[in-house]
Amino acid sequence: MTTPATSGSTSTVQEFKIRVPKNVKKKYHVMRFNATLNVDFAKWTHVKMERENNIREFKGIEEDMPKFGAGSEYGRDMREEARRKKFGIISRKYKPEDQPWILKVGGKTGKKFKGIREGGVSENAAYYVFTHAADGAIDAYPLQEWYNFQPIQRYKALSAEEAEQEFGRRNKVINYFSLMLRKRMCGDNAAEDGEDPDEKKTKNSKAKKDLKISEMDEWIDSDDDSSDSEGGEKEKEDEEAAAKKKKNKKALKNKKKKKVEDEAFEESDDGDEEGRERDYISDSSDSESDHETKTNKELKGVAEEDALRKLLTSDEDSDEDQEQKQESEQEDEPTKEGEERASKLTKKKKKPDETKKETSSEFSSDSDTDPESSNKKPKKTKNGTDKNAGGASGTGSANTSRAGTPTPSAAMAAVAAANAANANQPPSKRTKLDPSYSECGVTEEAVRRYLARKPMTTTELLTKFKSKRTGVSSERLVETMTQILKRINPVKQNINGKMYLSIKPT
């Protein structure tokens, strides 16, 4: 409509001549884009277009045989074709001019389109494109084909398996989140727990200063019970015992669940539980026989504590310790036997089989929450060691403390055994032991071992222990670690700006 408009008053009529040029060799096609693609032809620069070469796909899966030279067969294609014809398969010829267009806009990084020919558009009608010729007439060119252009994805789509995997990962992300949440919660708990022991320690030390501990949790619980009744009457205790039985029966129902919960907190072996049983009995009996049992307990506590210490410090002595423990325990029995046997008999008989299975359920019935009770264990050991640490050396303190108390002959034997065990150990190590080490699971021995193996940074060292004990708060760990390192005074080297600690293996 570029022709000058002969503007009339009412209506203007423009006339254009239409020609259909025949001499052109061009073939006209329509390219169609969806509007959502926002294709603006005017903005196109550097557009390349070519037919797609998909002869490979067209031919289908065919073994890659060399066409000539080594490995090639003469006339293979022809023979294949003949063979196919025999089966009635007549392959169509590959027509390169029938292949879709590949359109690249804007160089290498630009968009890529694939134009697929559409059928059926010009079935019942013909399409022409009208363009203005130079002389004002209209040139009409017939349109041959319609191509629908669609963008080609530049990225690779996932296969079914990969998609499945990714989908699974998606769920995992959520799990991570909840995991982190849980971890944080746990971390808080741990922090609280970390504070707890100190309070408890003081309380406990006041409440039962003389009571020595063991590594077992039940003991403590039963200790608590017994300490309550320590003041006095048998009847009360009997009542308690009866009540306990009932409780146990009740607890029996949900013990399974509890036990599962409990497992998360402590790894228990069969051996452990056996130990508990016996100890429990002895504990319950101790309330009556104040003096002697107490001393017994103390003795055993010391021995136990020694054993614990040894366990942590050196692996070599562990066997000895065990023996010693057993010894002392066995020796404990007879002393108790005399007292209150009759009254406890029923309890004894009931308890073992019950406690065997449901030590954990017992806790809960005793109004002690599990985490607390599990925390008591290290704290108690600390109590014991603190006491001993008051002396110059572990052995010395053990001796002195015992010297003051009236010791039965059996207990003496235990002391002697303990002393003998202690004598085996180098005294230097023992003196250096700080009670808190054992709490965190960080022992000087272990640190020494790590440092002697290879030089490490402090952070590396910390991670070694962190991975071992998860329950301990990191602050506490660092604290104890610094203490240990001060004592060890390792060789310091600066490598790449980091301080590496090491010990010359002696």
Partner: protein
């Protein structure tokens, strides 16, 4: 058409006409047929655009007399006047491109097949005939034609003989003659046969005996004698029943490593 003839180079799309707005016109087939036949120089029709202020523009197409007269005997005349409904292109962007070049002629050199962008379709026009008697006549004629059955019954008076027995078929005769012209396969000098064989095995590794016979033009017994000397016969499947040179005669050895290297390189680069 061989695969290699396929033009592989990246072709630029000529964008000189990209900005041009063009019209897409849908016309009935009968007009398209006429326009197809019409020579290029003549005017095939007139486009009239009449604008009345305040109203939509009316577009009319009137075919020229020359086109109207352009008809085969017995063909119906077509209406002269058509109106064009104008509509805009919505929900899609339409472009027109053209490619010029070797249509179907198997030229040896695929002369530069050029691609042009011809413009953007700004308006769609639909050509509709006025319902006048000529158009009705045309339509009724076309309906009548369409309803006519494709096959008709015909009564035959005499037997139509479609098959006659032939003593010797044509292609048989051709083959015999060819064979005669070639004469009997004579045993050639062994050296010459070996040369031919080696030349053949240079191109391919495996040959069927029949192919070798065709290539060397030797009697099969004689050929087998020679083959047994220099070739191995494959009895197992990848190349069953085919002959290949004995390892000591092969010399595509140098060629093979080069090939494998190349393929390796290419695979590495990919």
């Amino acid at each position: 058409m061989s695969v290699n003839a396929l033009p592989q180079f990246d072709r630029e799309l000529d964008l000189s006409n990209t900005g041009r707005g063009v019209w897409l016109v849908k016309v009935p087939k009968y007009i398209a047929n006429k326009w197809d036949k019409a020579p290029g120089e003549i005017e095939v029709g007139k486009l009239k655009i009449s604008r009345v202020p305040g109203q939509k523009a009316q577009v009319q197409l009137s075919l020229s007399e020359a086109v109207l007269c352009l008809k085969d005997p017995g063909e119906q005349s077509i209406p002269k006047e058509h109106r064009l409904n104008v509509s805009n292109v919505t929900r899609q962007s339409l472009g027109v491109f053209s490619h010029a070049g070797p249509s179907n002629t198997d030229s040896v050199v695929p002369e530069a097949e050029k691609l042009y962008m011809e413009g953007r379709i700004v308006q769609k026009l639909e050509c509709r005939p006025y319902a006048d008697p000529t158009y009705y006549k045309l339509k009724s004629e076309s309906i009548r034609k369409a309803s006519m059955p494709q096959r008709q019954v015909q009564q035959l008076e005499r037997i139509v003989q479609t098959f006659k027995p032939v003593s010797d078929h044509k292609h048989n005769i051709e083959y015999q003659e060819k064979k005669k012209a070639e004469g009997k396969k004579a045993r050639d000098d062994k050296e010459a046969v070996l040369n031919v064989l080696f030349a053949a095995f240079e191109k391919h590794q495996y040959y069927n005996i029949k192919d070798l016979q065709k290539i060397t033009k030797q009697p099969i017994v004689y050929l087998k004698e020679i083959l047994k000397e220099v070739c191995n016969y494959n009895l197992k499947n990848p190349h069953k029943n085919m002959w290949e040179l004995k390892p000591e005669y092969r010399h595509y050895k140098q060629e093979v490593p080069v090939e494998t290297k190349e393929s390796k390189n290419s695979s590495d680069s990919e």
